[in-house]
């Protein structure tokens, strides 16, 4: 029982952290049809910023600053690496995204000297609490709550505000929205800003749980978040969250299966197998709308 609770707790928190990254993926993909490979690395940079800024500043200043810097990074990446390629083939943009990811990882290696870094122990989040006899961190418990709040806020933003309407319009049809007078570039920028801010918040929760940061730490969570976004249905925010939770829980369950079965090494592989199965049998995911092919 205690074991089941602990596995479930890990799963939900892992899933919640994937969800925060996945929202960024799904929003960008919904609008630009771009797999933003650099998103996981933005998440990693947010983690590093957390270390460097917290080293000299108190947490109540450094943490908001982390969000600001990450948002700036996301904005700059979009403007420098994606905006000039707006009319280029989709493959070029994706290659540009891979290039940015490569750049961020190499800069991180250079800056950290290649040594793994340790994330600071954030107040409250790092503290331990007991749930049904299982010790766990506050970050684990707070993650799902935070995710729910953020998702509600985001869906309100998208469904109720003007910019949200613009986002929906752009993701429906890029060209027509432009003709209708929507400022495409600012809509895209807002998307990247929201995505990066969520990645920054995600990084705080994730690295409080798993403190080691190395240059490629963002790659795997990034890919898994993308799988979550696909699983939930690209473009759908609740879908991304549910997809991420399912993947997080499934992964911890696989890791937690009896070691005699010797299958725990396939936790990552399972995620990708799931991706292939979903793509082949239900490409629109759980909640995705039937996409009309944009030739």
């Amino acid at each position: 029982m205690e074991y089941a609770v602990s596995i479930l707790l890990s799963g939900i928190s892992l899933g919640g952290q994937f969800a925060l990254i996945a929202i960024g993926y799904t929003m960008v993909y919904g609008i630009l049809r771009l797999i933003n490979f650099a998103h996981g690395d933005v998440f990693m940079v947010a983690g590093l910023m957390g270390i460097y800024l917290s080293a000299s500043l108190p947490f109540y200043i450094s943490l908001p600053l982390v969000i600001v810097v990450t948002v700036l990074l996301g904005f700059v990446i979009e403007r420098v690496a994606y905006a000039p390629l707006r009319s280029a083939p989709r493959m070029s943009v994706m290659i540009s995204a891979i290039g940015v990811s490569y750049l961020l990882q190499n800069v991180a290696t250079y800056v950290t000297g290649g040594q793994p870094m340790t994330y600071p122990e954030l107040p409250l989040l790092y503290d331990t609490v007991k749930v049904a006899g299982t010790p766990t961190k506050w970050a684990v418990l707070l993650t799902p709550v935070l995710v729910v709040i953020l998702v509600l806020a985001l869906t309100t933003l998208i469904n109720r505000t003007k910019i949200g309407m613009a986002m929906r319009a752009v993701s429906k049809d890029f060209e027509i929205s432009r003709l209708m007078g929507i400022k495409i570039n600012s809509v895209i920028s807002v998307t990247f800003i929201i995505g990066s801010a969520l990645a920054a918040i995600g990084s705080m929760l994730f690295f409080t749980n798993y403190q080691g940061i190395y240059p490629t730490v963002g790659a795997m969570p990034g890919l898994k978040a993308f799988v979550a976004a696909v699983f939930g249905g690209i473009g759908s925010i609740p879908g991304a969250v549910i997809g991420a939770l399912i993947i997080g829980i499934a992964e911890t369950i696989i890791k937690g299966l009896p070691s005699a079965w010797d299958v725990s090494v396939f936790s990552d592989a399972f995620t990708f197998a799931l991706l292939i199965v979903v793509l082949v049998f239900k490409p629109t995911g759980l909640f995705g709308e039937k996409a009309t092919d944009k030739v």
Partner: protein
Amino acid sequence: MVNQTKQKKTSWIALLCVAALLLLVIILENLSAWTGVKGILAPTSQLFTVLKKAAVYSLVAVSMNLLNGFTGLFSLGQAGFMLLGAYTYAILTVPAAAKDQVYYLYGGSAIRYSVIDLLGKLFGSSGAGGAVSLILGVLIALICAGLVAALFAWLIGLPVLRLKSDYLAIATLGFAEILRAIFQWQRLGPVTNGANMIKQFPTFTSFNIKNAAGREVLRLSTFVPFLVAAACIFIIVLLINSSYGRAFKAIRDDEIAAEAMGINLFRHKQLAFVISSFFAGVGGALFAMYVANAQAKVYTSTMTYEILLIVVLGGIGSISGSCIATFLYVAASEWWLRFLDVETVLGNGFKVPLLRNGFRMVVFSVIIMIVVLFFRQGIMGDKELPDLLRRRGRQSKSAAAEETEGGHG
């Protein structure tokens, strides 16, 4: 008609150039031994490391270009197919005598024989017979490596090739990750050696010819990867210039139009995917020979990205571009830019800023970003080397023809 004879002529010239290049490689590698001068081009020079690695990578890059550049299928599974090739080659060629030691955790391998040993029984295992069985054995193993990769490509292609561009990319990437986990699984240890490397199989240096006293008389360790890569690339070029190649390009340019022209989309995509993976598998086997081991850990998505970036640098849709870019990329990353990683103090005590471990890769990725953003055509665009030469000769001729040639892209 005239055009055709002209094309034939250029392909003869190209072939001659390749032959000359191969000869040059042999001469370069043996220069210090033949001239007896120690200072020039010692066989240990970084040049040969670069040449070997670049030869291997150029094959993989061209195989990726066949898919991404010529067929318009964006696949990121290259590392996975290389892994299959590397393991197939290694498993088939580790000498039976070395198996117990290599598979030390599993009490020997489940596959007891090695191709080369079997051939050795046929031709004799020393002297000329040994050479024959080595060459034939390696050749067979290389082909098997390609075939295994192609088989897996066929299987995985059945579902994933129906996906659209970026979904295909992520699905193939995922497939490569799954393969890596499977090959590292301890339960498969007797075949894949689990976490451990497979090693002690014939590598490029095995082809250096030694005399009876054990001294090297002719070094062929750089020539071999060049020869294999050149032969494979030659086959790919033939394929691209065939009717299949034209169908691939039609699919790349417009799937719907191609289908309307009567091209079976799925079959042609599958063909391109399987052939590309075949050569990626051969490339993987060559890579295993280059690093002298096979270990699943190495074949990560980073490797795929690296090869993709090479293809982009060279120009998507240009074979010669991919080859040139590979040599530049490998030479720059392994050799020319190494100084960026070393802290340097100039004569007057001035410490050059920024130079420190890791700076090389930062500079490198900045260069790549600049190419991706501002020189989207890469080095060659979608032209080949002969195109460039021909164009200069024809400059005086009609400008209209020029425009149709260089207009797209």
